[in-house]
Symmetry: C2
Subunit: 447 residues, 2 copies
């Protein structure tokens, strides 16, 4: 690629970074996208991999494949380790790359609010490895229960606790409940999987706080109909290999899943700028870094507020719209520079909220779309349609439709695979944010 | 399950063990199938997972799901650790289980002929974990080449060596050649994947020695048409991280795959009986253990000869027919015992060879079916049909058909996932056979 062209470096191949690259397609610039993983992950469906409904490859597309058609974009499989906004350089694996424009789209990871030792007992769900590890934990719990002579311990193996009542927690709880009550029901001789206890714990007053109250209520009822025990206004104070504690009360469970909170990727700290308490970079109205007009931060790594000053949620549509916005901004500036013109006025980024969806297992969901507040089957069908529509790649769509149709009509799960050793649970521990930016690349894929 | 019933214990959920359990369905016995993995693996398609064409779950079915309909069969996810043929007990995870009839169907693993340190450089292909590790090695090699400044080393990353010219080696070579020349061709900016060198090394005078010479010739030509460099009559004397040595000649390659030989699972040695040089148990004509009429060994763990005294190959049809044969034998004996009659005369096991197939990438294969010796597209189509037909589970069949159709028409691969850290290569090292029977269970799934 000719070095006379301005170089745009994008770090992160998630929803935000991918959209940025795609919308820079036809501008005269050398675009480099850096990601530590070779695939773009459709995170909204990750919980289905974690509950054996889909295979990893169904919701992951190789970034090279997705961006193949972009003549001006190169992809580097590498983990960024730092940025120098003065030298205008990005660092990864002992290499430096100079940029004219930088787009930081490095996402977020789950946070244990300082209780990082909880992670080995309660893994979170952000990557394919997280999902296959959790899938394995869930499936092994039933196998251990089947072999366990002690009836008390057997119960503990059949107890599942999900910490955090956001979309991920709700979707996991519903999906595990169905896995136990239907897909596995007939498969064991010594235990009754339908006796499994799924408990969803939310610290706030209601689950799905991002949705209108009426929908939260509907979601709660749907979960309870699936046999999920929903506890709100309860803060988990302790987690170990035998369960969680709420105040003095212990809930025994051999399988615990963490869906309680996220923290922005540490990349934000590379910029030595102001962040909020979860590490999101505070950006200008045009998503640029204060004092660095050519550096942009988007997606879960950025703190962007809506008209009422409420922070935008960490969801795919926000990241995608920010990516498109930044790509257009950069295009305009580059074109203007070439034509020796001043770039057009840059209107602040505005998020167009097309609606929010959450699913509660088979044929039930909630949808908050403008003035429409939908629940039940119709919301679920909307959810189905939207997720298939946004899934990248014809093949993935087709395969996912078939897996879903098959699961829907047979009540079975297609990906009941235990493929890792039992240390996988421990191995999913990733270094703490404070270590991340200088950790060896391999750790980034630790499984 | 009532303990008054005779207990049949089957160790191994492969083609042999599964068939045995299925054909014991309607007899009055308590059947226990023990496997250390929770899924039955369709090994003939494992190379397609290793080359990113299929997902693990596409060729693996949960054993509990497959055998759900069997009222008299329980499944234990555990690793057998020994057998006492005098006490008539099976041991696994500090537990003992008494049997009246034992069927050992524990398969085979790849063998390095004593050069076990080669495994970390040249992993073999027997399990899902092997396949995902090899898939990752192959994909990462291209990524490293893309980032490698030194043109010589870049070449080494684009060299792939497959050791062993049997079906697995041939199928891997063909599939990697196509992955490089087609699926990845357009995805890189700094390297030309079509420049990848794939070398297949066979110690014997010809590849696919199990097939008629004319078919071996056709297969060789097909591979060469795909750009594979086929070397026969060459023995690999040394393997390290930079490639292999044939005599004094070094072939540089960062990715090496071992398909050169297998050894029977160590379970054979639990029986303290005669085995051949690759550890296969020498059995009676009725597949029972000499001196122990109620112990049977089938599949890759047994040495069974055909009419001409040639050992039967370690392929699925042999294991399946042996499983059915043994199941019928046991049924007859149990029924006879109940009716206080003497069991019918037991004719020796006879293998009905329905033919042999091997595929050499896209729309080319060879088929040796009775008097028919087929090559090219028609053989490939036969291969396609047979493999879909024998694949377990409606869902798997449908999904695999779609993935294949998609790959066939788009020339793409659907499962290009790098999901493990780079130590995965090292981690695929499994303990040596001598250690296996007393190694911790977790090691069995080491990924």
């Amino acid at each position: 690629m000719s070095e006379t062209l301005p170089r745009v470096v994008i770090i992160g191949g998630g929803f935000g970074g991918l959209r940025t690259a795609q919308h820079l397609k036809n501008i005269p610039a050398a675009v480099t996208l850096i990601d530590r993983s070779n695939h773009h992950l459709f995170q909204p469906l990750l919980y289905q991999v974690a509950t054996a409904a889909l295979s990893p490859a169904d919701i992951a597309a190789p970034i090279r494949g997705v961006l193949r058609k972009l003549p001006n974009c190169e992809i580097l499989l590498a983990e960024g380790t730092g940025v120098d906004t003065v030298k205008q350089e990005v660092y990864f694996e002992n290499r430096a790359l100079a940029y004219d424009y930088l787009v930081l789209a490095t996402g977020a990871r789950h946070s244990y609010f300082g209780k990082d030792d909880w992670e080995k007992f309660a893994p979170g769900l952000k990557t394919i490895q997280d999902a296959t590890a959790i899938r394995q934990n869930i499936l092994i719990a039933f196998e251990k229960a089947e072999m366990e002579p002690d009836s008390e311990i057997r119960k503990h193996y059949l107890n599942f606790v999900i910490v955090g009542g956001g979309p991920t927690g709700v979707e996991m709880a519903g999906s595990i409940a169905e896995l136990a009550s239907v897909a596995l029901a007939a498969d064991f001789k010594h235990i009754d999987p339908t006796a499994a206890q799924i408990t969803l714990i939310e610290a706030g007053p209601r689950i799905l706080a991002g949705f209108p109250e009426v929908l939260s209520e509907n979601a709660k009822r749907s979960l309870e109909r699936l046999g999920v025990n929903v506890i709100t206004g309860a803060r988990v104070g302790h987690i170990d290999e035998n369960g969680v504690m709420i105040g003095e009360k212990r809930i025994f469970a051999k399988t615990i899943i963490w869906a309680a909170g996220v923290v922005a990727s540490p990349a934000g700290r590379w910029l030595h700028t102001d962040t909020d308490r979860v590490g999101r970079v505070i950006v200008e109205p045009n998503l640029s870094l204060p004092g660095h007009a050519n550096v942009f931060v988007i997606g879960d790594t950025a703190l962007v507020k809506d008209e009422e000053g409420k922070p935008l949620p960490g969801v795919a549509p926000v990241a995608m719209q920010e990516g498109v916005y930044v790509a257009n901004l950069i295009s305009n500036r580059i074109k203007a520079a070439q034509q020796k013109k001043t770039p057009p006025v840059e209107n602040p980024f505005r998020y167009r909220n097309k609606g929010n969806l959450a699913t509660i297992g088979r044929s039930s969901a909630i949808a908050d779309i403008g003035k429409f507040k939908l629940s039940g089957f119709i919301a679920w069908f909307t959810w189905l349609f939207v997720h298939i529509f946004y899934l990248i790649g014809f093949r993935n769509r087709l395969v996912v439709i078939i897996q879903w149709a098959w699961s829907y009509f047979t009540f079975q799960r297609g990906a009941r695979l235990i493929t890792m050793d039992e240390n996988a649970k421990a191995r999913t521990n990733r270094p703490q944010p404070s270590e991340i930016d200088n950790r060896p690349r391999s750790a980034a894929r630790s499984i």
